[in-house]
Symmetry: D2
């Protein structure tokens, strides 16, 4: 698959970019998340994508590596001084622990950063170190804002570093936030299912179609790194009930992009169906990307969009509250949420380039 | 798709059937469950498959309707007197409520019956009627044994009517039985995922590849008919904690055959990892079709087999117990379990024709 | 699946529509093709989508039927006078033979029409009648232009009726046009493969995931209605070799949207690799939606786009020419090509709303 | 995914093996082909599987690596003297060029060999060397018989080395043999489609579900190694028309196991539909694993079986003959055909262990 592909005429940006547009580049554009971020920024009417870098595939165009994204820029080796010159912002799509040093270097050169790794998602340093090991740049933790747009809009707008949420926390926290804010969560089980793109550009038994196909596979049982991220966010919304220990479990299912969080909540107090519906309608009435619906959402409903589709329900039999939250793990769960945050950071309409 | 297909030479039974073999027929062989039962009986070394009947496709061979099952018998209209003559047993694969009258008529003509419907699964008539409406033959309820082989082996061997379990209860109850028997379940959430074959030969939005593909879809939220079936079985195993209300939720995921029940149990008392493992090893040590494993099971591991693969785990963070139970919904969840039961009913080795 | 779905706030058009925008409606929006056309027009910056009609699902919103398309208009019964009032154009997505009367009625009320059926694709009436039976409106055949944009751009711009091509002819004719124009096709085999969406919103054995999944199925062997459509187009490009009889064969493969035509051409005269490449580069150098590439195209490369990706190759062993042409059958093969044609018909940039 | 998996009780052979059963081992059992061969031999009633070897995963059980195959033997490093001691036969599942030396060493220790590689498939050494480079053991070429069971049954029964065919040649040659034998092929295009298992246990862009899924991809355009293998076989069947140059093209489609060869034949003389059908019926009337059918075969029809399903048709429009030939690429295309050959080599019924 190494042959070079040279279409007759590589297209210019999908949309003419206005003068004075914010200049953005993507570091780590060879992975699924970085490549999609580059695609969304390339076709965005208001950002100028200045470069894409990668630690492999240097010299190949991104369009050659990901034909359907059609970004004709060549993949370059990262050169901090050159790539940060005149830059307004960067999207960093590096693995955990590898991201922080680059984020720091970009900050020192004046760029604002949306970081797709976990490095700045947790405010408590000790929690980070329990799950990921030593933090390369703990000094920057205070500069970072957690990038779940709907929860931290105002702070994101002014942030130097936006820690883009994990895809599982995005679905789970958006699904549970109205309950947490109302102090209604006594106990919760989150059973999450995700397509294979969640494993990224990883080539192994979990991604081979002849192994992942026709399979349903739980993974990281009783030990998922996203647990503390979800707990920190829910705790912050419900200071009256600190220390909620959530049960989070991830599963791989045989599709490409899509993620569903099924949340089973034991409420602190009984909630009537109408109350529950109203709680969610009110919470998200003004949100352009949250759809509160009246029937179970399928992940197809949000595929390749920045939407999160939420269905809250009550179970009269058990008294539990059920919330189903569907997103595209690569879009709202990762890269389109990064663009949503960039829109906010540069004073653009939040939906720009995302509808 | 209606052309008749006539392979050069239709094969005889895959295995030579011994003289004096029990004679079995399948009523309702045009659906997924009945067709697979016919296939398993046709290639079984010890049963004689005498006929297959259906309410549609009469005259076509089953091999024409389901080529990969290669059962060359023609589909006939049901003629109770003719089909029951000299019969030892029947598999009835009819929809709920439609099954009971035929089961009754077959009983009256002397045949033993494995019924794949829900009609005889619940011992409490009022529970049946709450979920399914009036019961056509309540008089027969006392003759029926619940056909979860591993739990009711002795009674199945002598039963007149075996009520073959639903696929969800099969996975869930096998996964939870050791905990129930030990009185350890204080509360449980069962999040089940199933392939599209679970919808059967139904042609609609839930089965169309362009709608079901690339989708994860919860369905029957807070109202699944399998809930009382699971509760009855767990209650019977744990008389000390009657009235457990389980939270059961089903999801469709885009594969053909496969089902995973992820069970999240709040224990009545803390359980150590070693204790839990030992509990499961002991419970299933002698079972030919239960595999207690040490890592998360994928549904591929049991695809097109009668195995149930179970992984119990403890979560130190929440104190909950996690049990993952994987089966093939059409095999162990339905048709191969029916054959496992027939083996028992006719004194054959339980694994005959199933390995 | 019949519950009504009412998101909190149905969005307005994805893009603000300018004053004086052409007004378009879609007749037959409940099928895959019509629904996608409605989606593309709804989010289009320059068209106003005035209504969507259907013969079923009346009263439901299109967003409820196809959540991911997010078109909040309610499906109406067709009322020719009302729907044609003030209308500039219509997209008609009806089955063959059912379309022509409505196309005619709309023409008589002054609307220009893009017809997605086969009713106006063939210029020879006797060919139509051989494959489809009596033509309901043969009087209109002369008003129709074949809507393969890249071949008939000028005539489409002024057409009263545009007969949007079938998806197979789109891929095949775009793949073969440079060879036909150069008089190079002595004989050709076209082996086409398509995802299940090609069967449309049809619920049967060909679309059920448990039957279509894990399957590769040839269909309409030696009798595909698209054969004469391809032959007419190739004949018109190569008047020196009239009467070419093509071998066309379709196959269903288990994916949703995607189509590949693999064309095996016996050339009238040998062609060198460089010559062949140059022929294709030259033919499509100015085309915004045709990508001539140097390695085999996958259908993923064009999924959910209006692009057609073509790879021509020579086989030194046989002397044959090979052309692989990939499209999304629902987009370039149907609905986005309809929008590409509408752009032309109303003097808009051809790529408007499609990048 | 490296955790060791220890089910409660590993099963013995699925079937009791008779005394004096031929002893067979599988070299290279960690790949898809070797693992399936081991599975089929383990559950076979008449062979004793003595060992499985691999160049990786040594010490792990094969059941741990491929749970669904349930072969409890530990993977060993190959020790020729030890593994060949008392051995009757070996299945060698190594890559091309790597296989021949091991095949030779096993021969020298007295074992008969079924080789799954290409090393002994071509009788002409120069053809082998053109496609694969230098042959490691050309001295053994004369001892090898091409293992397409239906064509070379008598010679396979007595062979020292059986060169098991490639999966594409299996489907293509079985599909075309009746025509070749009748001298009817003037020209032929073979368009083959295969599931992802054809790529084997290879972890790259061609097998990642998020890249291979929803894709149709032609590969090895105009340069497929299976071309000479097919040509040699067809030439041998039709000595009157030597030197036929076939056009063969492979495609990957998103399923696991399944392969369809669509063959488009220009006949040397016109053939009537009845004649064609009779030709195929006659050719395969006595074959237990060939099904000549009257409608297009889907690969599902033969999935996980040793059957080859063939549909021949005539096209009145072009005069061409069409033949569709469906197999499971891993079963009849590879490992179950190896067992079919072993059955022959040891005087067992050809269908033993395969129905």
């Amino acid at each position: 698959m190494a042959e070079q592909d040279t279409p007759a005429a590589l297209p210019g940006p999908a949309q003419p970019v206005g003068a004075g547009s914010p200049r953005v580049f993507v570091a780590g554009a060879t992975g699924f998340a970085g490549a999609l971020a580059a695609h969304l920024l390339w076709r965005h009417p208001r950002f100028e994508l200045t470069a894409v870098t990668g630690r492999s595939e240097v010299g190949r165009t991104l369009a050659d590596l990901y034909p359907r994204y059609r970004v004709p820029l060549a993949i370059e080796e990262l050169d901090l001084d050159r790539h940060a010159a005149g830059l307004d912002a960067a999207v960093v799509a590096y693995p955990h622990a590898a991201a922080a040093p680059t984020v720091g270097a970009l900050r020192e050169r004046g760029a604002r950063v949306v970081d797709l790794s976990a490095d700045f998602r947790l405010t408590a340093l000790e929690t980070y170190e329990r799950w990921y090991g030593e933090h390369p740049r703990p000094d920057l933790l205070g500069d970072a804002v957690y990038g779940l747009t709907e929860l931290h809009r105002a702070r994101i707008a002014g942030a130097a570093i936006v820690a883009n949420p994990g895809c599982y926390p995005t679905a789970a926290v958006l699904g549970l936030a109205p309950l947490a804010r109302a102090g209604l969560i006594a106990d919760v089980v989150i059973d999450a299912k995700q397509g294979i793109s969640g494993a990224g550009r990883t080539f192994d038994e979990t991604t081979h179609l002849s192994m992942a196909g026709e399979n349903i596979l739980p993974y990281k049982v009783a030990a998922h790194r996203h647990t503390p991220e979800i707990e920190e966010q829910l705790d912050a919304l419900d200071p009256a009930h600190p220390g909620l220990a959530i049960q989070f479990q991830a599963h791989l299912v045989p599709l490409d992009q899509g993620e569903l969080a099924s949340c089973y909540v034991t409420p602190t107090t009984p909630v009537a169906p109408d109350e529950l519906r109203e709680l969610y309608r009110d919470a998200y009435a003004a949100e352009p990307f949250i759809e509160v619906v009246e029937r179970p959402p399928g992940t197809r409903d949000v595929c390749e969009t920045n939407f999160c589709r939420i269905f809250p329900a009550t179970d009269a039999h058990t008294g539990k509250l059920l919330v189903f939250s569907a997103i595209d793990n690569l879009w709202k769960g990762t890269s389109s949420q990064a663009v949503q945050n960039l829109n906010l950071m540069f004073g653009l309409p939040e939906t720009e380039g995302l509808l």
